[in-house]
């Protein structure tokens, strides 16, 4: 993609996981700027927040890579306070569900500080939080609150979906002079892909056209975070049926890349948005509203939102298997938009595939 520096041919890449991409971004930031420090429950521990901080303690020492008390609210405030006095903290909350106790600091303070004091004081703060399903984590360990953060002017919100973007977006977030919320889907950590060497930035506020764009596409699939991968799978299935889809990985929820979405819908006239959160009052509503407001006459059919049903996440596999939407749901939505029949076989689960694991290497207890 032209907007992504790291896709340029000159840079060599290696395969690494999403978690390693995050790790590399943080190592680069710690290396290049002495005001960067990292703080989070367990950040220096042997598991290193699912491998995203592993080895950083050893490399940068205990002042730059800090554990913290189980006091998410105060520690978010401490991060704000150190950010307005010259540091550049990276704070990690291991689940957005835990960070609910820290909303006040994020929303009243971090987001508004620069504005409410007359534009004098930047808050260069990155807050990493894990969203989405883990392994049987249920109602209080799997929420996805991007719509909340995106509703708050003053924050920036990113949701990388690939290892390369994980590295490039996180580095941009850390270098940005504003509070950036980085929401990382638990199921992405183990995912491996090509990642360029060295420092590079993926710009905040830019979506990525992941697939298609040749001009014959009949439907635009917009994904957030993990759902971008399901959208990609959906596009493959649609292609088998002779339907071309454009897939956009939103990447940034705030600011929202209106142009990339509108351009695609202008080409296809049809929109499916797939979110990792509850549909109702979710981020998909903003995408739909934006498209309707700006491209009403380009729409050939009503846009469709895909996401979680309107009740909390159940833990039992028997209940969660049908709770989470996946590629077939996007395919079915696209087919309906095109007035094509949907084969129920589409939803069949292959032998040996467990729907509560991203792949078979992913096991409990986390």
């Amino acid at each position: 993609m032209p907007d992504d520096a790291h896709r340029s041919a000159a840079v060599s890449t290696r395969r690494m996981t999403f978690a390693q991409g995050l790790l590399e971004a943080q190592a680069i930031a710690l290396e290049q700027d002495p005001s960067v420090y990292l703080m989070g429950l367990g950040a220096p521990d042997p598991k290193g927040i699912f491998g995203t901080t592993s080895g950083l303690l050893q490399r940068f020492g205990p002042e730059r890579v800090q554990d913290m008390p189980l006091s998410e609210n105060a520690m978010t405030g401490v991060a704000v306070g150190s950010a307005i006095t010259g540091m550049r903290p990276i704070l990690t909350h291991q689940r957005v569900d835990f960070a609910l106790v820290a909303m006040e600091q994020m929303v009243n303070q971090a987001a508004k500080w620069f504005f409410m004091f007359g534009g004098q004081v930047p808050v260069p703060l990155t807050i990493r939080m894990i969203v989405g399903r883990g392994w049987g984590q249920g109602p209080q360990h799997s929420q996805s609150l991007q719509a909340w953060f995106a509703h708050v002017p003053g924050l920036k919100v990113v949701m990388p979906a690939t290892p390369a973007d994980a590295k490039g977006l996180l580095l941009s977030a850390i270098e940005d002079d504003n509070p950036v919320i980085c929401l990382e889907h638990r199921w992405l950590y183990g995912l491996a892909d090509e990642v360029p060497e060295g420092p590079y930035r993926v710009p905040l506020g830019k979506a990525r056209l992941m697939h298609g764009g040749g001009g014959k596409a009949e439907v635009t699939l917009v994904g957030l975070s993990y759902m971008s991968l399901e959208a990609l799978r959906a596009a493959e299935i649609l292609a088998e049926q002779g339907i071309e889809a454009e897939v956009i990985d939103l990447r940034s929820v705030r600011p929202l890349d209106e142009a990339t979405i509108l351009d695609s819908v202008a080409r296809t006239g049809r929109l499916v948005v797939a979110d990792t959160a509850h549909v109702r009052f979710g981020a998909g509503a903003e995408v739909v509203s934006l498209v309707v407001e700006q491209a009403f006459d380009k729409l050939k059919a009503a846009p469709v939102r895909i996401g979680l049903p309107d009740f909390p996440t159940p833990t039992s596999k028997a209940l969660s298997d049908s709770y989470y939407p996946r590629a077939p749901h996007l395919v079915a939505a696209a087919l309906k938009l095109l007035g094509r029949p949907v084969d129920p076989e589409l939803f069949a689960v292959p032998e040996g595939r467990n729907l509560d694991q991203p792949d078979s290497s992913f096991t409990g207890p986390f």
């Binding site: 521990d45 189980l70 106790v101 009740f311 159940p314 409990g364 207890p365 986390f366």
Partner: protein
Amino acid sequence: MTSASAASAGSAAALANGPDPELLWRLYRLMLYVRLVEEKIVALYPEQQMRCPVHLSIGQEAPAAGVAAALRPGDQAMSGHRSHGHYLAMDADLDGMFAEIYGKAPGCARGRGGSMHLIDRAKGFLGAVPIVGSTIPIAAGAAFTSKLRGDGKVTVIYLGDGAAETGVFHETLNFAALKKLPLLFVCENNLYSVYSPMEVRQPLGRPIAGIARAHGVATWEGDGNDAVAVWQMASEAVEACRAGHGPAFLELATYRWREHCGPNFDNDIGYRTVEEYETWRARDPLARHKALLQDRLGADDAAFAALEGELQARIDAAVAKAKAAAFPVDTLSPEDCYA
């Protein structure tokens, strides 16, 4: 607005004279029960049929047993992520617990919660949730109801040393002291919050109980691997709560043997030393209490074997039931989140 009601004469006498044989056996039975249930989880977890996190309390059985033995029917308890022992010691439904961990329909939370969401209201176990600190004020709310209604119940809230770092803990101490709530805080200080030792989280040399004391709360500090000592402290504390003297606080030193979450040992990963682990292993609350039963009551191997056999049978039956039980039917709808 008072819940004062004198502690029963029996418990006062027991307090004075130390535990009687029946109580000593009860403490052992409770601890063994918790241990065996969790060892069963250890054995079965690798089958990957329990598809949710599990936080085992093996090595920490004494607080649950000692505290539960100091309560009377009608009393209430709540807990957090590491709640199996607290739930089981209240005599809460074992079948419901295993079914819940297996994600089955007869689970105590109908499979919607998993191991971190145990509940058995009939037995006074009002619920456990895995957001650290969150049940502390909720338990205070339950005690507040008791205070408003004068129903004489005492509510226990179990928490860890990590939970003592949450703001809501402090807020609840203040409120409980203000309203003189019949609320017993039981803090199991096992030295770690996940893999983080005390020294990266709290200033050294100040007890957690001291914070409660500063709020005007009566406190006890002691050996959390000694069931009799726990029972003794809890009995005094519960009596004070029930007498309307306000909340009480126990800080109990104990140790988790296995990994923070999951069935394995994790001394190899480097966050704690094998020496430390071995020291605490040597303070096994069960072994210690078993010796007491042998020494003091002359309990013989047959008695222990009989007890273990009985409990094991009960556990095996619960597991078999859970495995055989149906999964919940997949017809949840938005209505299911409204009463």
